[in-house]
């Protein structure tokens, strides 16, 4: 039985038809909308590569049934830069080598953006690492990721 839903993704409204109710939000983003920046890692909610913001909150899109989010506002990695200007968190990841292979990076960046909106900012690296524990980096670029988050906070507070 076909299903239809509407998602506002990075500010653009998308009417989506599904053959049945099974697709996850992750699969809809990648396979229907063509936004492949959001990655499929484990597909089980364990790695965080699929992290997106739904109505401003970070979640694992692989464990979200798309139909259940009909009407939601989704922000993916494709939607965070301001034109050619990188989001401060993106810029901080590049500046601080917050990655190696890069596969987990979109999820890391979306998770960091979500973390900052949840907690404001924290200068305690331990608190940042704990806040990012839902994002696994198999290259183990964690030292750079923590540096990137500290730097991103400085950049974000400078903007305010």
């Amino acid at each position: 039985m076909t299903r239809s839903l509407t998602l506002t993704i990075n500010g653009t409204k998308h009417d989506i038809e599904l053959e049945d109710a099974r697709p996850t939000l992750l699969d809809v983003l990648r396979e229907r909308v063509g936004l492949t920046g959001t990655k499929k890692g484990c597909d089980r909610g364990q790695c965080g590569a699929c992290t997106v913001l739904v109505d401003g909150r970070r979640i694992n899109s692989c464990l979200a049934l798309a139909m259940s989010h009909d009407g939601a506002e989704i922000t993916t990695i494709e939607g965070v830069a301001d034109g050619e200007t990188l989001h401060p968190v993106q810029a901080a990841f590049i500046e601080n080598d917050g990655f190696q292979c890069g596969y987990c990076t979109p999820g890391q960046i979306m998770s960091a953006i979500g973390l900052f909106s949840e907690n404001g900012t924290a200068n305690d690296p331990e608190q940042l690492r704990e806040g990012m524990s839902g994002n696994i980096c198999r290259c183990a670029a964690y030292a750079g990721i923590t540096e990137a988050l500290l730097d991103a906070q400085t950049r974000l507070s400078g903007k305010e």
Partner: protein, 349 residues
């Protein structure tokens, strides 16, 4: 994932009617259910999406001082509710010690209660599992059993309940409100989880069509705010299920323990209240000897269900430490690493 029908009813009554149909399952955050469906451990014919039902998203303090938490409150919203975290700090710490931020943002408190065991044999479709298929047998027994139960298990099932949140709730005598085709009922959270018997595997006691609508904490649960701690041992200090965990909460005046609550996680098919341990300290001025006696009492009935005898000693020591840390006073703020046994020292309290 199997094909299924999808319904999104707009009232609790309609949801319960849909949920009572054979093969129906309720969907809220989906963080456990979709995972189970992906591996084929659950194959519902109909998903009844309850995530938008009205009236289930509130945290309310009632006239009698009890607190009612709607089943659709997100784990992260409850933990971050300043008033709630101040009154029930060990519950907030338990919530924040579980899963990841992404999962806590999606998962609801009702879903936390309804989550399945993480026993690998329950997940693995090639293994026999009495919980998944009553009467099939249990391939966990004699298998990889390092994380399995040491209390309340039988040959039917040696799985543990994975929730951190529920351990702190059980210590506070929380109850679960359910709405079903035959009306509403309330049951203590502890008894909501039936233990395995010689013939049945145990699990959450939900009758066909029943929907968890709320959790309630009785008025006296707020008496423990000053001396409360939830600590948890795991393979890594974040984003891992408990090997063993312990909640300890005390109400102290004039140096005497007026009331104390102790519960353990990761040891049984339900969050395990250690009433003998509580009795060892209640109405007494705590001493190191009494705390040791309490920790011994908490595990007095424990026995290994496989390669997990180590958990008995580990749980004993963790209960000991939880009591010590609770008696020393609730940390000013929730530690950077919630549930970590080292957090109290790190906080320099």
């Amino acid at each position: 994932m199997n094909l299924f029908d999808y319904k999104r009813p707009s009232s609790i009554a309609d949801a319960v009617a849909a949920g009572a149909e054979p093969g129906a399952a309720y969907l809220a955050g989906g963080t456990n259910l979709l995972d189970l469906m992906k591996v084929g451990a659950r194959k519902p014919d109909v998903l009844v999406d309850i995530s938008r039902l009205p009236g289930l998203g509130e945290i309310e303090t009632l006239q009698d001082g009890s607190v009612r938490i709607g089943a659709l409150v997100r784990n992260s919203d409850l933990a971050r509710d300043a008033g709630f975290a101040k009154a029930y700090p060990a519950v907030a710490e338990a919530l924040l010690s579980g899963a990841s931020a992404q999962l806590r943002n999606a998962a609801t408190v009702g879903g936390n209660l309804m989550q399945q065991t993480r026993c690998l044999y329950f997940y693995d479709q090639q293994s026999r599992c009495n919980r998944r298929q009553p009467g099939a047998g249990c391939d966990a027994i004699g298998g990889e059993t390092g994380k399995h139960a040491v209390l309340g298990w039988t040959k039917q099932c040696i799985a543990t309940h994975p929730s951190d949140f529920c351990v702190a709730l059980a210590a506070l005598d929380a109850s679960v409100e359910l709405q079903g085709p035959d009306g509403a009922r309330s049951v203590s959270l502890e008894e909501f989880y039936t233990l395995p018997t010689e013939d049945t595997p145990g699990g959450a006691d939900v009758r066909p069509g029943e929907l968890v609508t709320a959790l309630t904490l009785p008025a006296d649960a707020a008496h423990f705010a000053g001396h409360a701690r939830y600590i948890k041992l795991r393979d890594r200090t974040s984003y891992a299920f408990a090997i063993v965990s312990a909640a300890a909460m005390a109400d102290i005046s004039d140096g005497v323990v007026q009331d104390i609550r102790i519960a353990m996680g990761g040891v049984a098919a339900r969050p395990w209240r250690a009433r003998a341990a509580e009795a060892a300290l209640k109405s007494k001025a705590p001493t190191p000897e009494l705390i040791s006696a309490a920790a011994e009492a908490a595990l007095a009935d424990a026995s290994p269900s496989g390669d997990n005898a180590y958990k008995i000693e580990l749980a004993k020591r963790l209960v000991h430490r939880a009591i010590e840390q609770a008696l020393a006073g609730t940390p000013q703020t929730i530690p950077a690493l919630p549930g970590s046994v080292f957090a109290a020292q790190a906080a320099g309290r």
